[in-house]
């Protein structure tokens, strides 16, 4: 399962503001379905934000991050037109990726 990411990168003065919205159920593994069977844990464990080939932020997540996670970060040194990428992997081996250019 490769999830797409809605991503926007906007230059605000010295800083570039990145906002990303990932599609993911972020199941904790503690919930049960209607039949009373537990729903297996399924959540994003690693996320990285890259500016070109530089990692500006790398996050480790637990299941307590909300479903369809939102992430906002700011970094210095971005120029209009530069590529910004957000990538994730989850605990079931799934990955997601989104790319945009700085406006």
């Amino acid at each position: 399962m490769a999830g797409r990411i809605k991503i926007r990168a906007q230059k605000k003065g010295e800083l570039t503001e990145v906002k990303a919205l990932m599609r993911h159920p972020m199941e904790t593994g503690m919930r049960k379905d209607q039949a009373g069977e537990s729903i297996p844990a399924h959540f994003i464990t690693e996320v990285a934000v890259l500016h070109g080939d530089q990692t500006v932020m790398q996050a480790h997540w637990g299941a307590a991050v909300s479903a369809n996670p939102f992430l906002g970060v700011r970094f210095q040194g971005g120029q209009s037109g530069d590529a910004v990428r957000v990538v994730w992997t989850d605990n079931q081996g799934g990955t997601g990726e989104g790319e945009t250019t700085i406006r």
Partner: protein
Amino acid sequence: MNDTIKGRVSRRRLLNWAAALGALMTLPARAWATGSRPETAFDATALDQALMALGQTPTRHEGVIFTTPDIAENGAVVPIRVEVDQTVLPNVSKVSVLVEMNPNPLAAVFDIAPGTEVYIETRVKVAQTGNLYAVVESDGQLFMASRETKVTLGGCGG
């Protein structure tokens, strides 16, 4: 004898090439390895345990600016923001977010590269009314801020 040495050298060289090639091909993945996942802290089931697993007991500090809603109507989606006053807390390399009343209090750890602003926005699940903690690592020391968020509808039962 000579042959053996030659064989060893070329094998080592081959391994080096393979390693270099591998590193090149997995560049983003390699960059991820800058901070390893703090498994023990994520597995902790109590706040004290989780804080201890992060290194040391953090000191409260006004330089950690932690924004959370006073009241969350839906505990499944609680927006949070962590910022730092970099004039008093320089060189922040890590930001962690903990939710006291969750089954596993540690929600997320962010490794911040130099040059990245200490500004994190995300949304977390909050099981029930309790404190939320933001812990930052500045020059190797841990500092924190906490905020109480009242939850009218729990976040973990779904």
